[in-house]
Structures are given as structure tokens and as C-alpha cells.
């Protein structure tokens, strides 16, 4: 049974599965009733800080029980969650605070320097470590305190997820409670998730993939276990075995690491389902993974976008061979069309751009009507992905109609990095591209026009490190005399790698 919003569903599940374990970390495990008690207790804390329905609250919090408690407490109040990468540097966080007009920021790991920097903004910083919610654990079966009578509707805004923007400013994807509930429900149905499932999670909750993993499992009464980092793949494989989980989700590089840097192949874990999203996985890796898993384990290849709440399509595991290379069929509440450059619908087996519509498509970008107009047309989302449909309605993707670079699970727009690098005096201009990488799919390479020296290289990397999280720092820097440009002076981005290699 499904309620209209995920917060209503949360209360329904907390009643139905009060004693079942909802969350497990290496420190503690929480039943649904205790989780709800902490959520209610947290709403008191947040209200004391003046959080009201409709307020945007930025969360810079690592995956943790605190993250989940704060997230659902914000929904309980009716606030809009703005979860940000916990590795983001203060420069990026400040942009998001200002763009989302957030008054409160919840965090668990800001250093003193960052806190001082934020004091220059109007935002109030609340350290989750200083909030004590434990007395609430003694309260059994707490009911939602609805003193201000707030009740989220399907159209109420629930969350803003920021994505790498083309102007250097991040774009806030607006998702309503209805968007998220629809998508979550569709995913639960095709994955056949139940209260008997448990998942070992390694994906960050602030991205739409991790976000959907959290909500799809909590909305059926399943268990989410927090795992360590993919820096130590063998430990992740060991944890899958140790906890005997039924599910595991990753991006292509996750599976590459598990297959090459752990003993997964020698003794494949017994899982009910594995999900893969976050960029195309090569056929070789897909086949490799498929061969390595127990025949009863169902491998779900999926495709999605933050602008579509998370998921757009899924490939039924029985079609992995017959429809190899496809990202599958659309979810129940998603429609797809392939269109030409003028927006005309194209027949099967004809390549064009992927457009999707349905109840899980975003409301637009926060305070950015021009960016919204570019991608939302009469209820259809222009995804920027290129591909075709076969006669059975299976989607096949082939590249993107944009410059977005995909490094592991991260989508990065080159302009965002170029803006940072161009701040340096000794750089006259630069261009960032993606180069192929065996593990990550792509890596970042910066072509820089400027004086080449070891000191400048250090200064450049140090500067990047100050403004950007590790995954956005170019792996390779190449100094060049000039960048290839069109007659009108635009950088020929698609030709950068090939042209500049020849020019060297």
C-alpha cells in the first residue's frame, strides 16, 4: 500500500514495521519506531531554529543515520531539503546557499575556517554533532506532531538537488513530493522490494541515485546498511557477505573495482538483486559481472536523470542478453519519445534525442526560468541524451547532446571547472575535456594556455583543490599554445582531444 507522499508513507511504515531495523551503521542499528522518535525529536530542534514549511535547508552531511533523521525531520515540517555533496568546498556551498536562499545549513564536518567563511553569509550553521536526540529513543510509537497543521500535498516542493550547470552556477532541480513518490513507487514495483529486503549502501545520498535507494527501501520497511568506502573494495565484498544483504547498488566503476580488486569472482555473494545506474556500463563489464554472479541474482541495468526524480527506464534482467546494450523500457509512469532537432517525434530505430514525460519529471530549475525553458516543453523533458527506441520500445543510448563529462558517478560540466582555472593570473584560457578511463569511464583533462612551470602546475592544482572537491580536479594538465576554435571564436570542444594531440 502506498500513500501520496514519502513522509506519509514513512509514518505508515513506522506503524506497520515498528520493531524492524530501518538503518544500521557500524555504531548502531535503529528500528523504525526509534528512527521516527528521533525524526520527531529533530523537528523540535529544527523548529527552534525557525525552520518553517517551504524553507530551504541545506544539508552538508555524510551518509549516516543523522543524515536520514535530519532529512525526514525536514519533510515532517514541510521544509525543502537541499542536500549537497559533503566533499564540496565552501565556494560551491556558498553558491548553493545563496542560489537556494537557504537560511539554515545542517552539517557534520565543517572545519573552523569554513564556518568563519560562512559567517559572512546570512546562513545559520547547525552542527548535527551538537544536537542530542537520544532521549527520544525511549519514546515508543510516537505519532507525528502536527501542531502547525502542515500536510504536504503531491504538488508541494520536497527537495532541490543541485547539478553541475553550464554557466558555472549549479542548477537546482525542483522535485515535488508527488514526483518523488511516483518514481519511488515505480522503482519498488520493478525491483519487487519488500520489508524482507536489506541493502548495503555505498552511494552518496545527495545524488538522485543514492536518494532513490534510501527512499525506495524505507518506504517498504526494508533495511539500509551503511558500508565503508569503495577505496577498500574487499571490505565492501566482505560486508555484503557478513550482513547477508539481499541487495547492492553501484555505478559501473563500483563493479569494475569489486571484480578487479576483491575476491568477488571466487565466491560471488548471494544477492537477490543488483542495480546498476549512473552512466553506461560497457558490454564487457556487464558480461563479466553477469558471469560472476549467482544465477539467481537479478542484475538490473537502469537509466535515469536527476531531472526525472531519478529513474527513467530499467532493463528486465531476463532481457540482458536479448536486448544487450539497451537501458530498457520506461517505468510505469514515464513516457518516452525520440525526437529530431525540431522536436518532431521519430519512428522506431531512428536516432534522435530522448524526451521523457510523466508524473516524476521535475517542476523546473529553482529560480532559473531560462534554464527551465530550455529543457521542459509542454510537460516533456529534453534529456540531452541521444539514442533510439527499438520496435519493442527498448531504449538504446548513444552519447549526449552536451559537453557534460561523466567521471565515475559524477556529472561534471567543463565550464564549471574552466571558470575556476581561468581565475588564475598565469592562465590566459583553458578548456576541460573528458578522456577515456578504464575504471571511471572518463577522467578530466585540462588544456591550459599559459606559462608552463612546476610552480604554476602546483599553483593551479592547489587553486583547484581550494575551490573543488577531489573528483572535480583535473587528473591531467596539458600546457598548450592555443585552443582550437571556430571562426566565431568558440572553443571546438568536441575536437579538443584529437586536435591538441596532433598540435603537440
Amino acid at each position: 500500500m502506498f500513500k501520496k507522499t514519502l513522509i506519509d508513507q514513512f509514518h505508515y511504515i513506522c506503524d506497520a514495521y515498528a520493531d524492524a531495523v530501518a538503518l544500521q551503521s557500524n555504531v548502531e542499528e535503529l528500528s523504525y519506531s526509534v528512527l521516527r522518535a528521533r525524526v520527531i525529536s529533530m523537528t523540535g530542534v529544527l523548529r527552534n531554529y525557525g525552520v518553517n514549511p517551504g524553507d530551504r535547508v541545506v544539508m552538508v552531511v555524510d551518509n549516516s543515520i543523522d543524515y536520514v533523521v535530519a532529512f525526514y525531520a525536514l519533510w515532517e515540517i514541510g521544509a525543502i531539503v537541499v542536500a549537497v555533496n559533503s566533499q564540496a568546498k565552501i565556494y560551491e556551498i556558498e553558491k548553493i546557499i545563496s542560489q537556494s536562499q537557504a537560511k539554515i545549513m545542517l552539517t557534520d564536518n565543517l572545519n573552523e575556517k569554513s564556518k568563519q567563511s560562512l559567517r559572512a553569509t546570512d546562513v545559520e550553521v547547525v552542527a548535527l554533532g551538537d544536537v542530542d536526540l537520544t532521549p527520544a529513543d525511549n519514546i515508543n510509537n510516537v505519532s507525528p506532531v502536527d501542531d502547525d497543521g502542515f500536510q504536504a500535498k503531491e504538488s508541494t516542493l520536497a527537495q532541490i538537488i543541485y547539478t553541475s550547470g553550464t554557466t558555472g552556477n549549479p542548477k537546482g532541480v525542483l522535485l515535488s513530493h508527488g514526483n518523488l513518490m511516483t518514481n519511488t513507487r515505480d522503482i519498488v514495483e520493478y525491483l519487487k522490494l519488500t520489508e524482507n529486503d536489506s541493502l548495503l549502501n555505498i552511494l552518496p545520498f545527495h545524488y538522485s541515485y543514492g536518494n532513490s535507494i534510501l527512499h525506495t527501501h524505507l518506504c517498504v520497511g526494508a533495511k539500509v546498511i551503511f558500508a565503508g568506502t569503495m577505496a577498500f573494495p574487499q571490505q565492501v565484498t566482505n560486508d555484503i557477505r557478513k550482513y547477508g544483504v539481499s541487495g547492492f547498488s553501484g555505478v559501473p566503476s563500483t563493479f569494475n573495482l569489486l571484480l578487479t580488486h576483491s575476491d568477488w569472482i571466487n565466491d560471488p555473494p548471494t544477492l537477490r538483486y543488483i542495480t546498476q545506474a549512473g552512466g553506461p556500463m560497457s558490454r564487457t563489464l556487464t558480461n563479466h559481472l553477469l558471469k560472476s554472479i549467482n544465477p539467481r541474482t537479478r542484475l538490473y541495468v537502469m537509466y535515469g536523470q536527476t531531472e526525472a526524480s531519478a529513474r527513467i527506464s530499467w532493463l528486465p534482467p531476463e532481457s540482458l542478453i536479448s536486448k544487450a546494450g539497451s537501458v530498457g523500457i520506461t517505468l510505469e509512469h514515464v513516457s518516452v519519445e525520440i525526437r529530431d532537432e525540431k522536436g518532431n517525434s521519430l519512428p522506431a530505430n531512428t536516432a534522435g534525442e530522448v524526451y521523457v514525460s510523466g508524473k516524476s519529471i521535475m517542476q523546473g530549475y529553482w529560480n532559473n526560468p531560462s534554464a527551465t525553458q530550455k529543457v521542459l516543453h509542454n510537460g516533456w523533458l529534453k534529456t540531452g541524451d541521444l539514442g533510439h527506441l527499438d520496435l519493442d520500445g527498448y531504449i538504446y543510448l548513444k552519447g549526449r547532446n552536451s559537453d557534460m563529462i561523466k567521471v565515475g558517478a559524477h556529472r561534471i560540466h567543463p565550464l564549471e571547472l574552466e571558470e575556476i582555472i581561468n581565475m588564475l593570473d598565469f592562465v590566459s584560457e583553458c578548456a576541460v575535456t573528458g578522456i577515456e578511463d578504464e575504471v571511471l569511464g572518463q577522467k578530466l583533462q585540462a588544456y591550459v594556455v599559459g606559462d608552463e612551470s612546476k610552480a604554476n602546475l602546483f599553483a593551479l592544482k592547489k587553486h583547484c583543490n581550494e575551490y573543488l572537491p577531489a573528483h572535480k580536479i583535473p587528473s591531467k594538465i596539458k600546457w598548450v599554445d592555443q585552443l582550437p576554435k571556430t571562426a566565431s571564436g568558440k572553443i571546438k570542444r568536441h575536437q579538443l582531444n584529437s586536435q591538441l594531440e596532433i598540435m603537440k
Partner: protein, 86 residues
């Protein structure tokens, strides 16, 4: 510490300083600093470190040796390499 160990320490320290801290100022890295907790390396950085050890030191890190107590600081690396070589 013998000469080989000193060279190994210098090699590892310089690799981390130059590629992840972007400096040659030796004071910026303590041998006890946790690479992951202090944000010096992320998961890909750990992997790159493993490739570096293979190429430069001929140290092959096996999957079950990929644990923080072997890899998460200069001191942990040095102790691990010494055990591997002994």
C-alpha cells in the same frame, strides 16, 4: 631506518605531496595523517596510490591487503611495505 626505507619514505611522501597536496613543502604532510579522514585521497586516489606502488616499488597490493591499516597513512604504508618485503 636503512637507506632503502628512507628512499621509499621520500618517494611516497613526494608522490602524495606533489599529486594531492600540490606542494613540495614537507611540513604539509605528517606521516600519521589519515589520507581518507583528512581528505587528502578519495577512493580513486587510493587506487592510484596502489598503481604507483606497483610501478615504482614493484609492490603488488592484493585485494585483501586493501585495508586502511595498510594504506591509509605514510606510516601504515611503510609498515605494510616492510612486511611485504620481509
Amino acid at each position: 631506518m636503512n637507506e632503502v626505507a628512507v628512499n621509499t619514505e621520500t618517494l611516497l611522501r613526494n608522490y602524495i605531496l606533489e599529486n594531492y597536496l600540490f606542494t613540495d613543502d614537507q611540513s604539509k604532510l605528517n606521516n600519521t595523517d589519515s589520507f581518507l579522514d583528512s581528505g587528502i585521497l578519495d577512493s580513486m586516489g587510493i587506487l592510484e596510490l596502489i598503481y604507483f606502488m606497483d610501478e615504482e616499488l614493484s609492490i603488488k597490493v592484493l585485494p585483501d591487503e586493501m585495508i586502511p591499516s595498510n594504506l591509509d597513512s605514510i606510516n601504515n604504508l611503510l609498515a605494510f611495505i616492510e612486511r611485504k618485503n620481509s
